[in-house]
């Protein structure tokens, strides 16, 4: 189902000592977005950026201050959650502790009234179908306390899916799991989403999670949408400094730099020659994989140490113009066999270098000469 968010805004009344004027806090600010049918969308941002509020607005647990929400063209802004047909998976799963797995999954079905009312057998079939989908068919008699975190997560997804929702919403679905289970479960979410083809929106603060399974990611900060796009596009083409910094591990390396006569200078060195960029000071962002080890490269750093990671080597070095304490560059293991001395020289891949306005942080497009 297609979801359209139109100028969605949510303000909370201001409170607290630091906020003497009682100004409203804007959690979500003018969010407009069209989510195509059957896609998996990741809402990504640091904590407090409004991503969970956005999810609650779509779910119907909170009412927007302004703006509208459309499900397949139908305005659902003022509808209650159950009338919207959404399934929600909560961060701590919210499984009812006194009910066993089967009763938990069946709970939403027992709420159906009138024409939708199901017989006992139909309910049983639906519960078994949902449980089978998330592969917990053999755990139906257990209580939630007797399940591992990953199993609880699956039960919670089954409970959200059993009523055949039009939209599946997941709030930080992986944050309560350990690292290994997280990898496994995110594949699982992807698989279930593909199989059911339900439009799915999930919230996360972990960029790896969002990048790895989403069709589209929405990067948010302070209630404002920073960028929307396919994960690779957003990574390759960050709209601003925040997005560039937020995506990627290891994070992007940032330098103070300036453009002079078509040359990009970091420190005293000209690292790239550019076309059509007026002279100005800039922030320069270089992805770790944008460095090439080269004897006659144009960018010189002081070598700290290489960190061996197996397939690749991460070279840790220092540069006076760097905004981070160290620079991390990732290169092939073979190319750094003869790494020695105090300094290391790099050539740069222009596609991995981004320029940002020093005042606004907006991206400055450039072409290399």
């Amino acid at each position: 189902m297609k979801i359209v968010l139109s100028h969605l805004t949510k303000k909370f009344p201001g409170r607290g000592r630091g906020n003497k004027k009682k100004e409203d806090v804007t959690a979500v600010n003018d969010f407009t977005f069209e989510i195509p049918d059957g896609t998996l969308v990741g809402l990504l941002g640091p904590s407090g950026c409004g991503k969970s509020t956005t999810l609650n607005l779509i779910c119907g647990l909170q009412k927007p201050t302004e703006g509208q929400i459309f499900f397949d063209g139908e305005d659902v802004t003022s509808l209650t959650p159950q009338k919207r047909g959404v399934g929600m998976v909560f961060q701590n799963y919210a499984l009812y502790p006194h009910l066993n797995v089967e009763q938990n999954i069946r709970f939403p079905l027992e709420n159906l009234k009138g024409n939708d009312k199901l017989s006992k057998d139909e309910m049983r079939a639906r519960v078994e179908e949902a449980a089978g989908l998330v592969q917990i068919g053999d755990l139906l008699d257990r209580k939630p306390a007797e399940l591992s975190g990953g199993q609880q997560q699956r039960v919670s997804i089954a409970r959200a899916l059993v009523k055949l929702p039009r939209v599946l919403l997941l709030d930080e679905p992986l944050s309560n799991l350990d690292a290994r289970l997280r990898l496994q479960t995110r594949e699982e979410i992807r698989r279930i989403q593909k199989k059911t083809a339900i439009t799915t929106i999930f919230v996360t603060h972990d960029q790896d999670e969002a990048m790895s399974i989403s069709d589209l990611i929405v990067v948010m900060k302070d209630g404002l949408v920073q960028q929307i796009g396919k994960p690779q596009e957003v990574y390759d083409n960050p709209a601003n400094l925040f997005v560039a910094k937020f995506l990627g591990t290891p994070p992007i390396n940032l330098f103070e730099g300036k453009v002079e006569n078509g040359c990009l200078l970091i420190g005293e060195e000209t690292v790239l020659t550019l076309k059509n960029v007026p002279d100005r000071p800039v922030h320069v962002g270089i992805r770790p994989e944008g460095f090439i080890l080269s004897e006659n490269g144009s960018f010189t750093c002081r070598l700290s140490r290489p960190e061996v990671m197996g397939r690749d080597v991460s070279i840790v070095s220092i540069h006076p113009a760097s905004q981070n304490p160290v620079i991390r560059s990732i290169v092939d293991a073979e190319s750094c066999e003869n790494l020695s001395g105090d300094s290391v020289r790099f050539a740069l891949k222009p596609r991995k270098v981004f320029l940002f306005d020093q005042a606004t942080g907006q991206r400055i497009p450039f072409e290399t000469a």
């Binding site: 779910c59 119907g60 647990l61 209650t80 959650p81 159950q82 009338k83 959404v86 399934g87 929600m88 909560f90 701590n92 919210a94 009812y96 502790p97 006194h98 709970f107 939403p108 027992e110 709420n111 159906l112 306390a145 409970r159 009523k163």
Partner: protein
């Protein structure tokens, strides 16, 4: 390991001594007393051991009256006070403005002096040469005849006693239940709302099971407390409860020990053991029932 065990017992020793001296020894002593026939408190002698004390107590009209009164009191006040407290707590936790004010108002009886409460009930119910009591005024407003609640018919007196008991025990229950309700994670209600759960179903399927341990605690202590009722009856009807026909089992035990007819520790012990057996049975039944319906997490 053996050494560890000894150490553990050593730590427990002070508490065990205390319990032994003030709980277990008296309990056994009472049990023995209850079988000593013809005990004379002046000479501290008795004829022999047997079940006569029990037989006497169980055939004593005053005891049977006390037994009946106590059972009526328990059966009426425990469900009523717990149910009302639950209703009030749910109402309290679903309102936002003035919540704290109402909480204070409902808790006031708990910190109010028993004598002051007795006085208030006097004003409400007692007939004096000058006034018929507030409740009678109200009854007459609606066209009924006036009733003497303190010295009148049995049902009127029982009504006042139950009313008083419910009123006195409710604040504590409200306090416990409001905090139990506040302890339910709101995410469960959100999850239920998303699934379209109605309010009634939410209450019975989520709220009630979540607070069931606290509710169960209140029911058990409520039963025990109501079986031990005595001072409330004294506050309302004076010390001669047998004459008023409003005695309770504990009142009967007290009378046998100390009041003008007193000096019968054997009868008192037998009555106490009977009460103990009743409370034990009821508590066991409670525990059995709770296994199915109380959910500890």
């Amino acid at each position: 390991m053996e050494n560890q065990n000894n150490k553990g017992w050593l730590y427990l020793l002070p508490a065990l001594l205390f319990l032994g001296a003030f709980m277990i020894y008296p309990l056994i002593d009472v049990f023995i007393y209850s079988f000593e026939e013809g005990y004379n408190s002046a000479s501290q002698t008795f004829y022999g051991m047997g079940g006569y004390n029990y037989s006497y107590v169980l055939h004593d009209a005053y005891f049977l009256q006390a037994l009946k009164n106590t059972f009526i009191l328990v059966i009426i006040t425990v469900p009523l006070s717990t149910g009302l407290a639950l209703l009030i707590s749910v109402a309290l936790s679903s309102i936002k403005p003035l919540q704290e004010l109402f909480q204070t108002v409902f808790f006031l009886p708990y910190v109010t002096n028993t004598l002051a409460v007795g006085l208030v009930f006097m004003i409400l119910f007692k007939k004096t040469p000058y006034s018929d009591g507030l409740v009678n005024l109200l009854i007459r407003c609606f066209g009924g005849g006036s009733v003497d609640f303190i010295e009148g018919p049995y049902w009127a007196k029982m009504f006042v006693l139950c009313f008083y008991t419910v009123w006195v025990v409710m604040p504590f229950k409200i306090l416990i239940l409001t905090s139990a309700l506040a302890g339910v994670n709101p995410v469960y209600y959100n999850a239920a709302r998303v699934d379209g759960t109605g309010r009634t179903r939410m209450f019975f399927k989520i709220t009630l099971p979540m607070i069931s341990p606290m509710l169960f605690y209140l029911i058990i202590t409520g039963f025990i407390g109501a079986f031990k009722a005595y001072s409330d009856a004294v506050a309302l009807f004076g010390t001669n409860l047998n004459a008023a026909g409003m005695n309770t089992i504990v009142g009967y035990v007290y009378d046998m020990l100390y009041r003008d007819s007193g000096g019968y520790p054997s009868y008192a012990s037998a009555a106490a053991i009977i009460l103990f057996t009743i409370v034990l049975t009821i508590t066991c039944i409670n525990l059995l029932v709770s296994r199915k319906h109380v959910h500890y997490h």
